[in-house]
């Protein structure tokens, strides 16, 4: 069926991003918003809008019942979940399916399977996709954890099964450390995620994070849209992404892309999704997790492939075949995205407030944002206020362009991480393409020593 009206169950820049493709495709849009977002740009730009509750996300953007009612009231055919919020909530997708609403994403069953790290790992192992050495099941006791850690060799990592985005992860270098920290991690998991289940894995030192964009339709066609290098992170969250990855040579890239397709095909994936991998120093790679939604950093892929990924999502969701076959998809040049966060650039502490002055770079820069001068950046939501995306013929040219774009950006009234991003794009290791997920921690400790 052809989708005529989409309700966007999200806010901020990603809601605007979806609206822009809908307009291009002649699809009507419905925005939802909380009381804190009454004046938000996504609300102004949508054809219709529905107030769904007070500022805290639990009472608004995460309230699936209210959102489903809004779909019914407005007569939308489909829901686009964006990223975060309800996008990887299998129950919400299942509710949509039951109510005859098209959920723009994979089947609810796949979301639930991939949402459980244990299940995702089990499935990928069965499909022959490499996974990080570690526990197949939840680790229930300290004794069990100690024995497994001895087997796979320290350092090891404990992570909350229900966690994500780097929250609920701890690293242990010795049996003594593990003995001390085990119960604490279980308690934190229960506190933050309502579930004490933890997994134990080998900790890969100085790792790189590289992910593969996948697209699949309901007819069994699965393609990749190349990789994104996501190793520049702070607090286990991405800050800068680029494509292609400077680490991958021909053969290694081919093996990575083939593994990603194999995994996605094997689980019956549909729509757009991302297979995340961790790379060790020797180039060995392991499946980390699958993100069953559009990624924040999708513009990087759009830049190098020239494709509109939201359009692909909508076409697949309305039952079309993939717009292109694998041999029709190519990657040209280089692209880099920087995420602008409302936070102190040295201490990485959030900085909500009002943007008193705002100037974006001019010329050749894609700016995905939901703020303007005078916008209030709310303490209730994610600190990401914008994404800057530049592209060039090669990596060096693109780094120069990003340096310029960041230098031209002026944000006053709230603290922001542009000074940190500038340090990244001016860092020798980064410029050489020789860096791992420790890059920002290294810059931060250098900055602290310098003060």
């Amino acid at each position: 069926m052809t989708i005529k009206k989409i309700l966007i169950a999200n806010r901020g820049e990603i809601a605007r991003r979806v609206i822009s493709t809908c307009r291009k495709m002649g699809i009507k849009t419905v925005a939802v918003y909380s009381e804190a977002d009454q004046d938000a740009l996504h609300v102004r730009e949508a054809d219709e809008s529905v107030l769904i509750g007070p500022a805290p996300v639990a009472q608004s953007y995460l309230n699936s019942g209210t959102i489903i009612s809004a779909v019914r009231e407005t007569g939308a055919d489909a829901v686009h979940p964006g990223y975060g919020l309800l996008s990887e909530n299998g129950d919400f997708a299942a509710e949509c399916e039951k109510s005859g609403i098209i959920f723009i994403g994979p089947p609810s069953r796949v979301i639930s399977d991939m949402g459980s790290k244990i299940e995702a790992r089990r499935k990928m192992t069965a499909l022959g996709v490499p996974v990080v050495p570690g526990s197949e099941e939840a680790v229930e006791s300290l004794e069990e954890a100690m024995e497994l850690a001895r087997e796979i060799v320290y350092p090891v990592m404990l992570k909350a099964s229900a966690g994500g985005g780097g929250v609920g992860i701890s690293i242990f270098n010795s049996p003594e450390e593990l003995e001390k920290g085990f119960q604490n991690i279980r308690d934190r998991s229960r506190l933050y995620f309502g579930n004490p289940t933890v997994l134990l894995e080998k900790f890969i030192e100085s790792p790189r994070h590289i992910e593969v964009q996948i697209a699949a339709d309901q007819y069994g066609n699965v393609v990749h849209l190349f990789e994104r290098e996501c190793s520049v992170q702070r607090r286990h969250q991405k800050v800068l992404e680029e494509s292609p990855s400077p680490f991958l040579s021909g053969d290694l890239r081919d093996r990575l892309l083939a593994s990603a397709i194999q995994g996605a095909r094997g689980i019956g994936y549909r729509n757009l999704g991302t297979m995340e991998f961790i790379f060790g120093q020797n180039g060995e790679f392991y499946f980390l997790e699958m993100n069953t939604r559009l990624q924040v950093e999708h513009p990087v892929t759009e830049a190098v492939t020239g494709l509109d990924l939201v359009e692909w999502q909508i076409r697949i969701a309305q039952g079309e075949q993939l717009p292109l076959s694998q041999d029709q998809i190519s990657s040209q040049g280089h692209a880099i995205e920087c995420r602008i966060y409302a936070e102190d650039p040295v201490r990485l502490i959030p900085s909500p407030g009002t943007i008193s002055k705002l100037a974006w770079p001019v010329g050749g820069v894609r700016i995905d944002t939901a703020v303007e001068e005078g916008s209030k950046v709310s303490q209730y939501y994610d600190p990401m206020i914008a994404k800057l995306v530049v592209q060039g013929g090669d990596r060096q040219e693109t780094i120069v362009a990003m340096n310029k774009a960041l230098s031209q950006t002026q944000i006053e009234g709230i603290k922001n991480n542009i000074p940190l991003l500038l340090n990244v794009v001016r860092n020798d290791g980064f410029i050489r393409g020789d860096y791992c997920t420790d890059l920002i921690a290294g810059l931060q400790s250098a900055a602290k020593k310098g003060r």
């Binding site: 409302a342 502490i349 900085s351 600190p383």
Partner: protein, 73 residues
């Protein structure tokens, strides 16, 4: 003996208080965890001391610069 005001480093809410009145704390020990923009922000003890008074309770909204704990050092 001197009293130090420990202030909130960000605007948000009090997520978890890790200490009680009268507790002895060491420098860089976590006094409480604030929550802002869906991130945990730990408030650390600026130096060794004793918790003299806790000015907030869990769930309270706070603004950057609010005094949240008074330490006796």
């Amino acid at each position: 003996m001197a009293l130090i005001e420990v202030k909130a480093e960000t605007t948000g809410m009090v997520w978890k208080i890790n200490v009680r009145q009268g507790d002895r704390v060491s420098e860089d020990g976590t006094l409480m965890t604030l929550e802002s923009m869906k991130m945990e922000v730990p408030t650390l003890a600026p130096e060794d001391g004793t918790v003299k008074e806790i000015m907030v309770k869990e769930g309270d909204p706070i603004s950057e610069g609010d005094v949240i704990i008074i330490l006796e050092v």
